[in-house]
């Protein structure tokens, strides 16, 4: 408890809310409630960024995750119309598998952070999250990972378009059956 009380109060409240939201994502039976709780969690994570004086990251996190990706999640869930009657019975194996993989991920992340030692904010900590500094770091120090991420996204987009496109022979076939 002594270690906890030395932390600033806003951080404690925010962390509590974040963990609460994240727990509700997992425990909620209703998928739409899960997604809404996840959106709430993203909001609190953005608030964490603001506490760290990284407003740019905070807003981008909101725009990309809460504003775009979660809208698509919600969109698909609404179309699926998942309610209690139509939901198939799931066996416990799924739950066990999910718990094991999440535990493994936790293990890997903790191990990676422990051994590598996270690069603590360099230079002036004041403006580390501002657009100018972030852009400079991205375009110099982390240029290769940045470009690689871009290529990854493009390939994902091309893949999605290819999957969504109907096969030409299939179209012809369905037209034939109609006529």
């Amino acid at each position: 408890m002594g270690a906890l009380s030395s932390l600033p109060l806003p951080f404690l409240i925010l962390s509590f809310l974040t963990i609460l939201g994240a727990l509700y994502v997992v425990t909620s039976k209703n998928p739409v409630h899960s997604v809404l709780a996840l959106i709430f969690t993203f909001f609190t994570i953005s608030a964490h960024y603001v506490l760290l004086n990284a407003q740019f990251l905070a807003v981008v996190n909101l725009m990309v995750y809460a504003g775009a990706i979660m809208v698509l999640f919600l969109f698909v869930l609404m179309l699926l119309n998942l309610n209690k009657e139509s939901e198939p019975l799931k066996s416990n194996i799924w739950g066990i598998a999910a718990a094991i993989s999440a535990g493994l991920l936790l293990l890997v992340i903790t191990a990676a952070f422990q051994t590598s030692g996270i690069a603590v904010m360099k230079g002036n900590a004041e403006g580390i999250g501002l657009v100018k500094n972030l852009g400079r770091v991205l375009m110099t120090e982390y240029l290769v990972p940045f470009e690689l991420t871009g290529i990854l996204f493009i390939s994902a987009m091309v893949g999605a378009v290819l999957l969504g496109k109907r096969d030409k022979s299939e179209v012809v076939k369905s037209e034939e059956t109609i006529s």
């Binding site: 739409v32 909101l62 725009m63 504003g67 919600l74 609404m78």
Partner: protein, 341 residues
């Protein structure tokens, strides 16, 4: 942060919220009067002089209507929907500069609630969250028409947000800053961005129409197909919040267009005014005059153009606006690279 600044900002927030709500209220009156004029009718003229009390009468009526929540609806989400719509609509105006500053009670009061260095991104963030109000409300109603409206709204808003963002990027590239205050300051004199970014402005304007769910893009609430769209099941002030947030959005997007493309509070001959108090007031007046003009354009368009079909809407968004916005961005970049600033 000293307490005087805190007090100053709190008062500014209160005033701005009141003005926003007041303008949204009288936009409904303006809408009905303009519609009446275009259709050769008189319009509301019973409540007060020229019907000026009509918005108050409408608001009062909505307050006293029965508060109805359908049995099959998700109660809390049903209530959350209009709340989210209203909150996201009203917080957008926080970063818009209404003037430079005005001396008052011995201190220079900045006429902007929050001068954050990422103002443009803040607005895009709030706009992208704004769709949840409609989605949550439409889904929680447990009505197929509401769900259709919600799904249409979210698809439309995601599609047009892209071209809006791409149009904005061209402006940001030109001005080299994300702060709205600096973007306005760079447009002093007649150096407005509209002369450099005409295509960007048109793209932004069309996207703004679609983001506000205004005609000709009002498919989410298209009466003839979906009864009322996402707010079919709503009554009383919850319905009022949905309708009202549309007008608030209209006001805010007009203010944003003025800020980004039409020089904000700048007007020709501004540098000749030496009295700072008069200058501040004049700037606010000019800003609001420009904003009212755009609100009028919004209304004008609604009563002139017919509604798009849904496939036409998607076609326009993805196959016309986004390629055009991308081309606009590339051309802007090339011009900046070749001719410097």
């Amino acid at each position: 942060m000293d307490s005087a600044l805190l007090l100053e900002k709190s008062i500014l927030v209160a005033i701005l919220t009141l003005i926003t709500l007041g303008i949204a209220m009288y936009s409904t009156y303006g809408e009905r009067k303009v519609a009446a004029f275009m259709q050769d009718r008189i319009g509301p003229n019973r409540a007060g002089k020229f019907g000026l009390l009509q918005p108050l009468a409408d608001g009062g009526k909505l307050f006293f209507k029965e508060e109805f929540i359908p049995v099959q609806a998700e109660k809390w989400l049903f209530i959350l929907g209009p709340a989210v719509a209203m909150v996201t609509a009203t917080i957008t105006s926080a970063v818009i500069p209404w003037g430079t500053e005005i001396p008052m009670f011995g201190r220079n009061v900045q006429l902007q609630v929050a001068d954050v260095n990422i103002g443009v991104l803040y607005i895009m963030g709030v706009v992208s969250v704004g769709v949840y109000g409609i989605m949550i409300g439409g889904w929680a109603s447990n009505n197929k028409y509401s769900l259709f409206g919600a799904i249409r709204a979210s698809a439309q808003m995601i599609s047009y947000e892209l071209s809006m963002g791409l149009a904005l990027i061209a402006v940001i590239m030109m001005s080299g800053t994300l702060s709205l205050r600096e973007i306005v300051a760079q447009q002093s004199g007649m150096n407005w961005n509209i002369f450099y970014q005409p295509i960007g402005f048109i793209l932004f304007f069309v996207s703004a129409l679609a983001e506000c769910n205004r005609a000709p893009f009002d498919l989410p609430e298209c009466e003839t197909e979906l009864i009322g769209g996402y707010h079919t099941e709503y009554s009383s002030m919850k319905l009022g919040f949905y309708l009202f947030s549309e007008y608030v959005n209209m006001f805010v997007s007009s203010a944003l267009m003025v800020t980004l493309y039409f020089g904000g509070y700048n007007f020709p001959g501004m540098s000749y005014i030496s009295d700072p108090t008069f200058l501040g007031i004049a700037q606010v007046a000019v800003m609001f005059a420009k904003v009212f003009f755009f609100i009028f354009v919004f209304i004008w368009i609604r009563w002139t153009l017919p509604r798009f079909r849904y496939d036409q809407l998607m076609h326009l968004g993805w196959k016309t606006m986004i390629p055009l916005a991308l081309a606009n961005m590339v051309v802007t970049g090339a011009v900046i690279l070749l001719f410097g600033n």
